[in-house]
């Protein structure tokens, strides 16, 4: 209701810097705090894996196989007698590393592609976005499967495959606001003032589209972790005996009638991480998306 917002827009708050804005973003949606806290714990666990792990995650000990939870083996042992807890914390490292690096790559490359396409427009834009759309319409898991199958499973290849599938969405998410920001008068003012294209893009467009890219980043990090786990589950992830969550679930699933509980701990772990990231992204998105602003008044 424009009349209402017109009345209310008159009250200007005091200056707020980037950090305050981010805090405000988190405060608009309390669940994002829960998400952030949870994710921070998982990251801490991954970093501290060597300290937290009680056993070697790879060394087999057939004598101790398939033990239930105990003081020595917090979550019990798997079919090779390896400590599940230790494998879980090392698995977190791998999951976060592969997901984080691949999304970072996709974020940088994709945003750059999208921004350039959107800013310059014309044939370049059409050509780039056509390729992106084609890649985007391809199921990311199938694309990942294909790439890993062709190149062989290794941490580097997994990162490459996941980054490849995530570049198109970032290109898209960066392009749309670039196109609309570009149309705004202040970009025209920049051109009228004789600023160079790189300056306009870096100083005047990027800060305005960055929040959306960041939101997308948190949501796609969730997706990346899920895809990595899926590939490992299918058997195309990092080779055993390296501990991965997807691989651990697979081990439990292969004997689902006898040792189904082996799947449970890594399943919960993935769910917690992905859910936490989605909560962060969700809360931030509500804040970034101007269309939904004011929705949570009072």
């Amino acid at each position: 209701m424009s009349a209402v917002t017109g009345d209310m827009a008159a009250a200007p708050p005091r200056a707020n810097r980037a950090l305050r804005q981010l805090l405000a973003a988190f405060n608009t949606n309390k669940t994002s705090w829960v998400g952030l806290a949870t994710f921070a714990v998982v990251v801490a666990i991954a970093i501290l894996a060597p300290v937290l792990a009680t056993h070697d995650p790879i060394e087999q000990n057939i004598l101790e196989k398939l033990k239930g939870p105990s003081a020595e083996f917090i979550l019990g042992t798997d079919g090779f007698g390896r400590d599940i807890w230790s494998r879980l914390v090392y698995g977190a490292r791998l999951s976060l590393w592969i997901g984080g690096v691949s999304i970072l790559i996709a974020m940088v490359v994709g945003s750059l592609i999208g921004m350039v396409a959107g800013y310059f427009g014309g044939r370049l834009d059409i050509a780039i976005m056509q390729v992106m759309d084609v890649l985007l319409s391809f199921p990311s898991l199938i694309l990942g499967l294909m790439v890993v199958a062709m190149m062989g499973p290794s941490v580097g290849n997994l990162i490459f495959a996941i980054a490849l599938t995530a570049i198109p969405p970032f290109a898209r998410i960066a392009r749309a606001p670039t196109v609309s920001v570009k149309e705004r008068d202040y970009i025209e003012a920049c051109r009228a003032l004789g600023y160079s294209h790189p300056r306009i893009m870096a100083v005047h467009i990027l800060p305005n589209i960055f929040p959306e890219i960041l939101v997308m980043g948190s949501l796609w990090l969730a997706t990346a972790i899920r895809v990595e786990a899926s590939l490992s589950f299918i058997g195309l992830g990092v080779r055993p005996p390296t501990p991965t969550w997807g691989g651990m679930i697979r081990e439990g699933f292969e004997n689902i009638l006898d040792t189904w509980w082996l799947s449970m701990a890594p399943s919960v772990a993935i769910l917690v991480v992905v859910f936490a990231l989605n909560m962060i992204g969700d809360g931030l998105r509500d804040f970034v998306d101007p269309k939904l602003k004011g929705e949570r008044g009072g």
Binding site: M1, S2, A3, V4, D7, M8, A10, A11, G297, G298
Partner: protein, 329 residues
């Protein structure tokens, strides 16, 4: 006024919630709308003119706003007290409204014919076919060229001016007693604005309606209104017959407003700007709301003035000013 008014608004106060606190967007609005009369509500953005219309229609968003006090008397009922179901029966039937943005005020996925016919189906219980025939007549009445072919077209196939005509046809479908027109020509080019104003004036005559015409444009108001109420910061600050108001603007705000308009019909070197800006809804001054920007400010303006008769003018000419109109209760 000898004849009973078509609508009587008394002490209307509508509040909105900002940061958990309720603030009045309009306060103590009083006016009578006579039969066949066009009353213009004029003021700058944020003065509460649209809120007034939405309050009458019962369209204030419930989550953030409420009518806190006052009566809206229409046909012996107080609209402020009616429940949603009874209000709905009145809306679009006996009181209709048209809006500012013809581009966004029509539903993009429904045909023009359907949207015009809709009010007839709900209020008159007409069948699809009957309502459609009526819709065609209405579209012809608002002078949409080749209306018969356009009945099944969608809004995006119409120009801005034509969409506003469709809006008018929709509003008039049930022959309402009162039409609320909220800045109906603001989004249009001047030549189209002139066409729409003429159309509204003609149809008002034809239907024998009363009209509340909301505008920020004093030129448009001078063209169409019988009576004018000038609003500032949620209050009516001056009200008079259109001739009296333009001849003898009494409230300092009205006066300043009139002399801040560059006129197309005469050359004047002076252009008066009002210093400062409209106070925010949650930071209203306690006394006269215009005082902080007023050149005639006196110590007495610390207290809120009431609408009072302007001496030497018609008895219907009222102004809310201690200095110019006594303003005492």
């Amino acid at each position: 006024m000898a004849e009973a008014p078509a609508l009587s608004v008394q002490g209307l106060t509508t509040e909105f919630r900002i940061g958990g606190q309720w603030h009045a967007a309009i306060r103590g609005i009083d006016f009578d709308l006579g039969k066949n009369e066009t009353l213009a509500l004029v003021g700058e953005s944020g003065c509460g003119k649209s809120i007034t219309a939405l309050s009458i229609m019962g369209l204030i968003p419930k989550a953030a706003g409420r009518i806190a006090a006052g009566k809206i008397l229409f046909e012996g009922q107080d609209l402020a007290q009616l429940d949603e179901e009874h209000l709905r029966e009145i809306r679009g039937d006996r009181i209709a409204m048209i809006f500012q943005e013809p581009m966004t005020s029509l539903n993009p996925v429904l045909t023009i014919g359907f949207q015009v016919a809709e009010a007839l189906r709900y209020h008159r219980g007409m069948s699809q076919a009957e309502a459609r025939t009526h819709a065609l007549e209405l579209l012809e009445q608002v002078k949409i060229p080749s209306a018969r072919q356009r009945l099944d077209d969608y809004p995006h196939q119409f120009s801005g001016g034509m969409r506003q005509r469709v809006m008018i046809a929709m509003a008039l479908a049930c022959k309402p007693q009162i039409l609320l027109a909220d800045e109906p020509t603001t989004a249009l080019d001047v030549t189209i604005q002139a066409q729409v104003l003429l159309l509204l004036a003609e149809l008002k005559q034809l239907y024998g309606m009363s009209m509340i015409f909301i505008s920020h444009n004093l030129g448009v108001v001078a063209t169409i209104a019988d009576r004018v109420a000038v609003m500032y910061a949620g209050e009516i600050v001056e009200t008079a017959a259109v001739g009296d108001l333009f001849d003898r603007p009494t409230h300092p705000y009205t006066e300043a407003l009139l002399s801040s308009i560059p006129r197309v019909d005469r050359t004047s070197d002076t252009l008066m700007a009002i210093p400062g800006q409209v106070p925010a809804i949650n930071r209203m001054p306690g006394g006269c709301r215009y005082a902080p920007r007023c050149a005639l400010r006196q110590p007495v303006c610390e207290r809120p003035p009431a609408l009072a008769p302007v001496s030497g003018s018609a008895p219907t000419h009222l102004a809310r000013c201690w200095v110019r109109a006594g303003g005492d209760r």
